[in-house]
């Protein structure tokens, strides 16, 4: 998605500590919407500031999203001496009406979080300070109105809630509406609530999402579809959020692009460059992500960025991506290798190098390097896109029976359906001795062959391929969960959620039996139940997903 934005309200360019540049959708002239999808699309001046301290984080998430394929996750940690915060800014509004709406899902509503609209006096209970203050705590929603906390109603975990505030700035009152996504509870509706300090004409120019103030909270919560609208009458519709984007739709988008020339995949966080919050200060984090988000070839602006080791590594990656996009594959490989020397833990640089090798047709190197980085990309949608680009570039695969030949014994057979985690890759050498590379390479090629069917839109062939793999594994009494899951993906792509559900449930049962992580399948079950309109099961699998996350 390439959003455009034509706000009549100019938005303030904010300073350091940006974690991402959310994509913005233009709705009406005086409204701004943030959906956090397809991040790192530069759209102009930005309006966010992210504060992360000690153990708290603010980051993009594709685990839970109300619309599109991403949301923002805020994580707080008790005794971290501060709170993580996502703060957004807009021009000061000191009269008239303002609507503020967002969707929120909280993992455990007993943990505290706070959301506020505030003005130039910042987050104090005073005129032009906090105007609207929503609290979730002890399983309930509260709002601070007329200087006192007032209980609104129960707040359930793992439910998306739509919150809308229509603030009459001049009067200093607001209408508040909170509904859950399934309307399983009566909506919370408050009319003409006094603003937090009960002060008319209390201006606003910022919103904020945080953990708790007393540093006792371990909350995890997700925010999506933040909308601000000036001048709209109370109760009229705001921008309808986009529909939740399932992973198969991301695949469909990629199918449309049909990239046969490999290009870099976008960076989503500093972790893609192998950097952790402890290793990189706020200023460097901002630098890294500004660089990552520059258009390829935009060398002029690189010079304006303060140099640092991480920044230099990202600059080199960036230049490598430019070379890759222009089919200068060997140049790209060299630049990625130089970048990797500065950022050796970067999985994104490593993957980019593989793509440059694929562009140059160096398939032995592609296979070797892909095997090494495979565990670092497990479960990431971008990995599927990368495999697709490699498959489309390669095209020429051995026949299925040749690919399957290395699996024709009991010892090797199970690797056809194994999850290629780090420990599994270590295990393969131990178990198979000198045969390990032949088996592993064939496994990677089988997977790419499967993706080639998908990206060439030969979905019936892809489904048949997956069926053949899992039947082979089942006949050999080996775990077939992985191929059940991949077959389910094809049926969902083919708009057959009922068959997809059967496949995913089989995959889930297989994982449970083997004591394997079920995050990937549980996410897909949550999505397919969403498609089938089964709210109860969707919520159940959301909770299972959360329980499997570290």
């Amino acid at each position: 998605m390439t959003p455009t934005r034509r706000p009549r309200l100019p938005l303030t360019l904010c300073a350091a500590a940006l974690l991402f540049l959310p994509s913005l959708r233009s709705t009406a002239a005086d409204s701004i919407a943030y959906d956090f999808d397809d991040a790192l699309t530069a759209t102009g001046p930005d309006t966010f500031q992210i504060f992360e301290h000690a153990s708290g984080t603010v980051e993009l998430s594709n685990i839970y999203r109300h619309s599109g394929n991403r949301s923002v996750k805020v994580t707080d940690a008790a005794s971290s001496n501060d709170f993580p915060e996502m703060q957004g800014y807009f021009p000061v509004q000191s009269e008239g009406q303002l609507a503020f709406a967002f969707h929120m899902l909280v993992a455990d509503t007993k943990e505290e979080l706070n959301v506020a609209l505030a003005g130039p006096a910042h987050f104090q209970l005073t005129k032009d300070g906090i105007a609207f203050w929503l609290i979730v705590r002890d399983g309930y929603f509260f709002h601070m109105s007329d200087g006192m906390p007032k209980r609104l109603g129960p707040a359930a975990s793992f439910l998306w809630y739509g919150v809308r505030v229509d603030y009459d700035i001049s009067r200093g009152t607001y209408r508040l509406e909170i509904r859950d996504e399934f309307n399983s509870q009566p909506p919370i509706l408050v009319e003409s609530a006094a603003n937090a300090p009960n002060q008319p004409a209390s201006a606003v120019n910022m919103f904020s999402f945080i953990g708790d103030l007393a540093d006792n909270s371990n909350v995890d919560y997700y925010i999506d579809d933040v909308v601000l609208d000036v001048g709209r009458s109370q109760g009229t519709s705001l921008v309808a959020p986009g529909r939740r984007k399932l992973f198969v739709e991301y695949w469909r988008d990629f199918q449309k692009l049909r990239r046969e020339q490999p290009v870099c995949l976008p960076a989503l966080s500093v972790a893609d460059f192998g950097l952790s919050l402890q290793e990189i200060d706020a200023a460097s984090r901002s630098t890294v992500l500004q660089l990552a988000d520059l258009a390829p070839g935009d060398g002029r602006n690189e010079k304006q960025i303060v140099a640092s080791k991480p920044a230099d590594g990202v600059v080199l990656w960036h230049r490598g991506c430019f070379a890759l996009a222009n089919e200068h594959y060997d140049d790209a490989t060299q630049l990625f290798e130089r970048a990797a020397q500065l950022l050796p833990q970067s999985r994104l640089i490593a993957l980019s190098k593989v793509l440059s090798r694929a562009g140059a047709g160096r398939w032995d190197a592609v296979d070797r390097e892909l095997a090494l980085i495979y565990p670092t990309w497990w479960g990431d949608e971008r990995w599927v896109a990368a495999q697709g680009m490699i498959a489309l570039r390669r095209q020429d695969y051995p026949k299925a029976e040749d690919l399957l030949a290395p699996f024709n014994n009991d010892k090797a057979g199970r690797w056809l359906g194994a999850e290629l985690t780090t420990s599994e890759l270590q295990q393969i050498r131990t178990e198979l001795g000198t045969q390990w590379w032949a088996v592993l390479r064939s496994r990677l090629l089988i997977e790419q062959r499967f993706y080639l069917y998908i990206w060439q839109n030969q979905l019936a062939e892809a489904a048949a391929f997956a069926t053949a793999m899992r039947e082979r594994l089942t006949a050999a009494k080996q775990s077939a969960g992985l191929w059940w899951e991949w077959e389910g993906n094809i049926h969902l792509l083919m708009n057959d959620p009922t068959r997809a559900l059967d496949c995913y449930l089989s995959a889930f049962a297989d994982n449970v039996m083997l004591g394997r992580s079920s995050t990937s399948v549980a996410m897909k079950l949550s999505d397919v139940y969403f498609v089938l309109g089964d709210a109860r099961q969707e919520k159940r699998f959301r909770e299972i997903v959360y329980g499997t996350l570290d």
């Binding site: 104090q124 209970l125 906090i130 006792n216």
Partner: protein, 210 residues
């Protein structure tokens, strides 16, 4: 004999470990307070700070430790008890640091009541004023019910005979609630009574919300 020796050795080891912890923490207290370094040690640093506070004899150094408690903001029953013992110290600097730090290390009705008492009855206007500051800004761990009781105490103070007490009480209320409800500490007693009545109605609604 062997058991006694083992016990002595264990005790010496514990004492030695404690001494090295105190030495480590002391480095971050003076000559310059380094709260970031103390925070990096983690919540266990609080017990070391309490031990140092209780051993320390100079008010200035105790005041520095109280500042550390304030800035760390970690709840500690031991810190609260140590600080409370100095709530009436004659050293002004230490007294103020103690008043400010108490609400940052505890959520105890006794602390709130003590500060309300200082705000209303202390001989020194400075200590009364700073107790009100502590009530307005530094009671960070209070539960909703405790906050209600604190605010109730502030509203009671609006009826105080002392104009300065009325003034600092309404300032604290304004910080806590965003409003004064038109209360003027220097208005006539009948005006003040009417505004206090408004505050009482508000308080009743607050209690109902709880």
């Amino acid at each position: 004999m062997m058991l006694a020796t083992a016990l002595v050795l264990a005790l010496n080891s514990a004492v030695s470990a404690a001494a090295s912890s105190e030495a480590q923490v002391t480095r971050h207290l003076w000559p310059t307070l380094d709260v970031a370094a103390l925070r990096a040690i983690g919540p266990p640093v609080t017990s070391v700070l309490v031990a140092l506070y209780e051993k320390e004899t100079t008010p200035q150094r105790k005041a520095i430790i109280a500042q550390a408690f304030y800035q760390l903001g970690w709840k500690s029953e031991a810190a609260k008890n140590a600080l409370l013992r100095d709530i009436a110290t004659s050293d002004p600097e230490l007294r103020l640091e103690v008043q400010w730090a108490l609400g940052r290390v505890s959520n105890d009705d006794k602390v709130v009541q003590t500060l309300l008492g200082v705000m209303r009855h202390d001989q020194s206007p400075l200590f009364r004023d700073k107790a009100a500051c502590a009530l307005a800004n530094d009671q960070i761990h209070l539960t909703p019910q405790q906050r209600f009781r604190m605010i109730s105490g502030l509203i009671d103070a609006l009826a105080d005979d002392n104009a300065q007490v009325r003034h600092i009480a309404i300032l604290a209320l304004q910080i806590q609630t965003g409003q004064t409800k038109g209360f003027d500490p220097n208005a006539s007693s009948s005006d003040r009574a009417a505004r206090i009545q408004t505050w009482q109605h508000w308080l009743n609604e607050y209690e109902r919300q709880l």
